[in-house]
């Protein structure tokens, strides 16, 4: 195959200038996908600490709205929390930046960036990404956008505070809130850079998966991780540019006086000149990305889960083809359901009917996935490693969170729970916690591949169980206060005696949140200490079938010292009858007379 020959040559090239590596080319401006993946992961973790830390602070505010806390002014400074009192604008800034960081910087870049980069070349049998240079540019754009986002926290008028959905006119008019000044400008600049980074990354993933598969690696022999990353990249390429255009139009409205999203506005005692635009247009554009974004976050996590569950159940993933079909179906549907965020936005109610229909359809492929995971566990020989626990945890939160989607996707029911804590509980479980679990599963599973050392499993177990209990403790009761009609984004409910009886629930939620947040330190400690002091790994610690474990532990340019392994079978031949071992790696040739036992 010509592809293979090409790969081989490429590998040679890499070897030749291997010796010229300096610290800068190896650790900073690296074009090696494994190093870039580590860069993504560590940047993602740092952003994650910021994002989760913010949520701890505003949870404290919600539980004890009348108290003042020294740590507020310690972390936020006297300007944002004078005397330890979190004011309303600071609260809105925190929820806005928390959302932005978690959705984009942690669960999009941190998750996809890390594992697509690490696994696509290694699992399809390629020496590197199709374009190492673009890959490097993609990471550094992401880094730049992270820096801009962090800088925006320190501007005089405060960071963006209009909610992560930045609906205009609130986000467009500095008169409407102080966060819509310089902070919002930086937010938009940061997101524009982020989108450029994401597009470069996605294009690279797509091209690599299509062109650089090793000999024998047909599309139906790809691990489900790769399928998930591949489809995710396609959704990203389709939908992210729309957000970019929305961001550019918003920048035009803010700075150059256009009226894409604004019309008939009287604010701060004067009528503004805007005429003819519509905020609803922005909502359409935003959610055209915003909803697929949910799956951009979730699909890679589900891909990782498929791989981790199959490996640790020592069983083929159940319904491989159904899994692929459901990924594709979810991806397709995800681009035609954005209107369910807008049932009561003022758009024509008939559209609401259409979007209810398409939205509830998504439940079908989702149900298929959930049942397939459960069936994969059935009669398995489950190796309950921390990665496996997080994967099972993902299926659990995916079900709990996904089911309430049936309520929110129904326009009739959405009327009364729209923008309440019910929504917050729903999406945190189904995409926040689930995707985070997917990310943790991936880290626990592929840490040996990334760093050549193992994570401490006992710390991993503690991390999982405390996190699992706290995640339910936080988000399960939250549904109830949402159904009681408590709107989100109120920094205190004390102005509504109607909600006084919900206050003790808020305290319970916050206690769970603080404990859960604190125990993430166990993970951070485990992660950073194991990089240097972890137990050294063997080549294939989880006895996995996929190709990355055939590469040497020591990272080398081009991944494999010799020829790239050839693939002879699908990746899920676990416990196949007729084999001594309970796993048969993809590069093992079929025995004479061995049959393919799956469809």
């Amino acid at each position: 195959m010509s592809a293979e020959v090409h790969n081989h040559d490429h590998g040679h090239d890499e070897h030749e200038h291997h010796h010229k590596d300096t610290f800068i080319t190896k650790y900073i401006f690296s074009i090696d996908h494994k190093m870039i993946s580590k860069q993504y992961l560590i940047t993602g973790i740092i952003m994650g600490v910021i994002g989760v830390g913010m949520s701890m602070l505003f949870r404290m505010q919600l539980a004890w709205p009348e108290e003042s806390f020294k740590i507020f002014s310690f972390f936020l400074g006297e300007r944002m929390a004078p005397g330890g009192v979190m004011n309303n604008e600071t609260y809105l800034a925190l929820v806005t930046i928390h959302g932005t960081i978690m959705v984009f910087f942690v669960l999009t870049a941190g998750l996809s960036g890390t594992f697509s980069n690490l696994l696509i070349p290694l699992q399809i049998g390629a020496r590197d990404m199709a374009s190492g240079f673009l890959n490097m540019v993609s990471y550094w754009l992401f880094f730049l956008s992270s820096v801009v986002m962090v800088i925006s926290l320190f501007v005089e008028s405060g960071p963006a505070s209009a909610g992560w959905t930045i609906y205009p006119p609130l986000s467009a008019l500095p008169q409407s809130m102080s966060g819509s000044g310089a902070g919002m400008t930086l937010w938009l600049v940061s997101m524009a850079i982020f989108i450029a980074s994401s597009l470069l990354g996605s294009l690279n993933y797509i091209v690599t998966v299509i062109n650089l598969r090793t000999k024998g690696m047909s599309m139906t022999r790809l691990p489900l991780t790769i399928w998930a990353f591949f489809i995710t990249a396609i959704i990203g390429v389709i939908s992210f540019p729309v957000l970019l255009s929305a961001a550019l139009m918003l920048i035009m409205d803010r700075s150059f006086g256009t009226s894409f999203f604004l019309s008939d506005i009287y604010i701060a005692g004067e009528v503004l000149h805007y005429q003819g635009g519509s905020p609803v247009l922005f909502e359409h554009l935003f959610w055209f990305l915003g909803h697929p974004e949910v799956y951009i976050v979730l699909l890679p996590a589900l891909g990782i889960t498929s791989e981790v569950i199959a490996t640790n159940a020592r069983k083929p993933i159940f319904g491989y083809r159904a899994m692929i079909m459901s990924i594709i179906a979810i991806a397709f549907l995800s681009t035609i359901v954005w209107g369910h965020h807008m049932f009561i936005s003022g758009m024509n109610p008939f559209l609401g009917s259409v979007f209810t229909f398409t939205t509830l359809l998504i439940a079908i492929p989702s149900a298929v996935k959930a049942f397939n995971y459960i069936t994969t566990l059935w009669k398995g020989n489950l190796q309950l490693n921390p990665a496996m626990l997080f994967s099972i945890g993902l299926v659990s939160t995916f079900i709990t969170g996904g089911l309430t989607g049936i309520i929110l996707g129904d326009s009739t029911l959405d009327i009364n729970v729209h923008d309440t804590y019910f929504v917050v509980a729903h999406f945190h479980l189904v995409m926040g916690i689930s995707a985070l679990y997917g990310m943790f599963a991936g880290i626990y599973h592929w840490f040996p591949k990334m760093f050549g050392r193992m994570l401490n499993k006992n710390l991993g177990y503690v991390h999982f169980w405390v996190t699992a209990v706290c995640a339910y403790g936080v988000f399960f009761p939250m549904h109830f206060i949402g159904m009681a009609g408590l709107p989100r984004r109120y920094y205190t409910n004390t102005n509504f005696p109607l909600f006084d009886d919900l206050q003790n629930v808020n305290v319970i939620i916050t206690v769970f949140a603080l404990v859960g947040g604190a125990f993430q330190l166990a993970f951070l400690y485990n992660f950073f200490s194991s990089i240097f002091y972890g137990k050294r790994t063997v080549q294939n610690p989880w006895k996995s079938n996929t190709l990355e474990w055939t590469a040497p532990i020591e990272h080398i340019h081009g991944n494999w010292p010799g020829a790239i392994p050839e693939v002879h079978r699908w990746p899920y031949d676990y416990s196949k009858p007729g084999h001594e071992e309970d796993f048969v790696p993809q590069n093992v040739p079929m025995k004479p007379g061995e049959e393919v036992l799956h469809h």
């Binding site: 809105l92 409407s176 936005s345 309950l384 729209h418």
Partner: protein
């Protein structure tokens, strides 16, 4: 002091973490010594049991929430005609969800416990089964089809008002601005006068076109009064940013969008007084008052004034982030009996917006000595230029 407390908490957490790790270490005793950091039979056993325990935890959380919080959800006592339909659909969906949740979580965690790994054991090679895939595609499809049909039926009934119903309805404008609500009543002609933010000037704070004949009898109120049993069509406007008019007890919500008029309508079925007399509401209010009394004790001890006791009122809340004081953008809604409503109308309809503007102008003229506040004249002139600009367009 706080720093010390935080330090203590951190130390305790570290100890807790260390102890918990120790537990997992202790489970290794007796097992073959291996520190490969890959799960062994012992880990599988411990975590398998914990998985089963976690199922219990999920169920207990559910039961706890249902016992203690089940009175929170707005699923009964709706105060609008379409409310019971929404609540019924909500109930059906909830029951369904709880059923699926209970079964699937049981399967997931039970399997995780039951099939925990043991060395030397082999898993079943079971790769696919089209019949199973078909079953768990078609069953959700059928159930969802039912839910979709029911949902769309209800949605259409709520959102599309028949023309006959519309003719008998009262039209009220809900006007949103940072950070308050106002209601504009259409007056005797039941037609709202034209309005645009470009007409905003002085007392005409809703931007009503004063020359429009339909606007002559419009009047505004900072409290929303609606009569029981009559359809009310709300026309929503916003003058600055997005707001959302959320009336949870009526199962009603619609965004207010600058530059366009949005619409929602419902028929109130319970007056404020009737709602207050509902047993569930009496219990809720006494519960809230108990909480408030406790808080008041503390406040009084600190030398502050006590909280007022709470009486129930319907509320219109803002439910779309709209700026710093979003958390306190509310308006009281009063559902009157038709008779009470008539009286309220009589008392308020005379204070029309046109009248208010005229009075304000007269007052301004009366105190029109050159020494009087510069500010008001300058702001007046600004307003006139604005209107002039608007007219030019």
């Amino acid at each position: 002091m706080t720093t010390l407390l935080i330090l203590i908490v951190v130390v305790l957490l570290a100890v807790a973490l260390w102890q918990l790790t120790k537990i997992f270490d202790l489970t290794q005793v007796g097992g073959n010594v291996n520190d490969t950091q890959v799960a062994n039979d012992n880990d599988n056993k411990v975590n398998g049991y914990l998985m089963f325990g976690f199922l219990g935890f999920i169920y207990l959380t559910t039961i706890y929430c249902l016992l203690n919080y089940s009175h929170f959800p707005l699923m009964s006592d709706s105060a609008s005609e379409h409310g019971p339909e929404v609540d019924r659909l909500m109930m059906i969906s909830m029951v369904l969800i709880f059923f699926v949740q209970t079964v699937t979580q049981a399967l997931l965690h039970y399997f995780a416990f039951k099939y925990r790994g043991k060395q030397g054991q082999k898993a079943l090679y079971f790769a696919d089964n089209n019949k199973l895939e078909f079953i768990w595609s078609i069953i959700p499809a059928i159930v969802l089809a039912g839910l979709i049909l029911y949902g769309l039926y209800a949605w259409t009934n709520i959102m599309f008002v028949d023309e006959e119903d519309a003719d008998d309805a009262i039209v009220i404008e809900l006007y949103a601005q940072q950070f308050k609500w106002e209601a504009r009543y259409a007056g005797a002609d039941n037609v709202l006068g034209k309005a645009n933010v470009r007409y905003i000037e002085g007392a005409n704070n809703l931007g009503v076109d004063l020359s429009d004949p339909n606007a002559q009898d419009d009047f505004s109120s900072s409290e929303l009064h609606i009569p029981k049993g009559t359809r009310v069509i709300f026309k929503m406007r916003s003058q600055d940013v997005l707001h959302s008019a959320y009336m949870p007890h009526f199962r009603a919500q619609m965004n207010c969008v600058p530059g366009m008029v949005t619409e929602f309508s419902f028929v109130p079925t319970l007056t404020t007084a009737e709602m207050r007399d509902k047993p569930a509401m009496i219990e809720k209010v006494s519960n809230i008052n108990a909480i408030r009394a406790k808080k008041s004790e503390k406040l009084v001890a600190e030398g502050q004034s006590a909280l007022d006791p709470y009486t129930f009122d319907y509320l219109l809340l803002c439910n779309k982030i709209c700026g710093a004081s979003h958390y306190n953008m509310q308006m009281k809604i009063v559902v009157d009996t038709p008779e009470e409503y008539k009286i309220w109308l009589k008392e308020n309809s005379a204070k029309t917006i046109v009248q208010a503007v005229k009075t304000a102008a007269a007052e301004a003229k009366a105190s029109d000595s050159p020494a009087t506040t510069k500010d008001s004249t300058s702001s007046n002139s600004k307003d006139t230029t604005v209107v002039a600009q608007a007219e030019m367009k």
